[in-house]
């Protein structure tokens, strides 16, 4: 079984962000292949390195980064949704003249187009959507 995951909601605002992480982690622990995790709508906010939650709370963004490192997960943030919400990688920050150090994409995430979501649906046996 090969899965793709779609995350449509932002961290700390909506349970969907936590559920998507917990589901993905549980699937990987059971040896299920995850083709890709795609972040869309406010879900792109799961991919900013600037998140600083209180120390006694979970760090959702870091959880994803750690999971990606451990399992070589492909975490893809939608470029159109990300740009609207101020999530940039080095290339986009430069292209839009946002200045040195403005790139805030978190480790393990990459920014790409919506075609990656369609491909995730085509290539996986199941696309699991976490949203409102």
């Amino acid at each position: 079984m090969k899965l793709s995951i779609l995350v449509n909601e932002g961290p700390y605002t909506h349970q969907a962000a936590d559920s998507a992480y917990q589901f993905t982690k549980a699937a990987l622990d059971k040896g299920v292949e995850i083709f890709r995790v795609f972040f869309y709508h406010d879900g792109v906010n799961n991919g900013t390195r600037l998140t600083v939650p209180p120390q006694d709370d979970r760090n959702i963004q870091k959880n994803w980064s750690d999971l990606a490192e451990k399992h070589k997960l492909d975490l893809v943030v939608c470029i159109a949704a990300a740009q609207r919400r101020g999530i940039l990688d080095e290339g986009e920050a430069k292209r839009h003249g946002k200045g040195e150090g403005a790139a805030n994409i978190a480790p393990g995430f990459r920014i790409s187009g919506l075609g990656q979501l369609i491909e995730a649906g085509i290539e996986a046996d199941r696309l699991v959507v976490f949203g409102d």
Partner: protein, 135 residues
């Protein structure tokens, strides 16, 4: 790449007030380039997305409803609209935009894209899909 799959985009939210409808439409437009079978479903407040006479001037946001009418040119020709959702909101099929496509298998005859279905029929449509994206 594997053979074409059936994609269904389920639109559940009102067109304005949240960004779901607009960003769903953006996925549909990109997805149309992938040579898959694409259908749209409109349920709950999602039926307002294809309501006639949308005017967003005083909202200060773009009226993107004309885009739905252009989807036929991208091969997106099936708009399943749940009848109960219309009824519950005091709407009928007459309150929806005229959305059509040219059927290339029938001399490019202009045909309606909107198909009003019952809840049970919508369940059948969903059961028939490979990939369901719910927005």
């Amino acid at each position: 790449m594997s053979e074409a799959k059936k994609f269904l985009y389920v639109n559940r939210k009102a067109p304005y007030g949240t960004i779901y409808a607009l960003e769903s439409l953006e996925v549909v437009l990109i997805g149309a380039a992938f040579d898959q079978h694409v259908s749209l479903a409109f349920v709950d407040d999602g039926v307002f997305q294809i309501a006639k006479g949308q005017d967003t001037k005083s909202l200060g946001v773009k009226n993107f409803s004309p885009t739905y009418r252009a989807l036929g040119d991208y091969g997106v020709t099936k708009f399943y609209v749940e009848k109960d959702s219309l009824d519950e909101r005091g709407l009928s099929a007459d309150d929806l935009m005229e959305i059509t496509y040219e059927d290339e298998n029938d001399g490019f005859a202009e045909k309606p894209s909107i198909i009003v279905v019952t809840k049970a029929e919508m369940a059948e449509v969903m059961r028939d899909q490979d990939v369901i994206l719910s927005f």
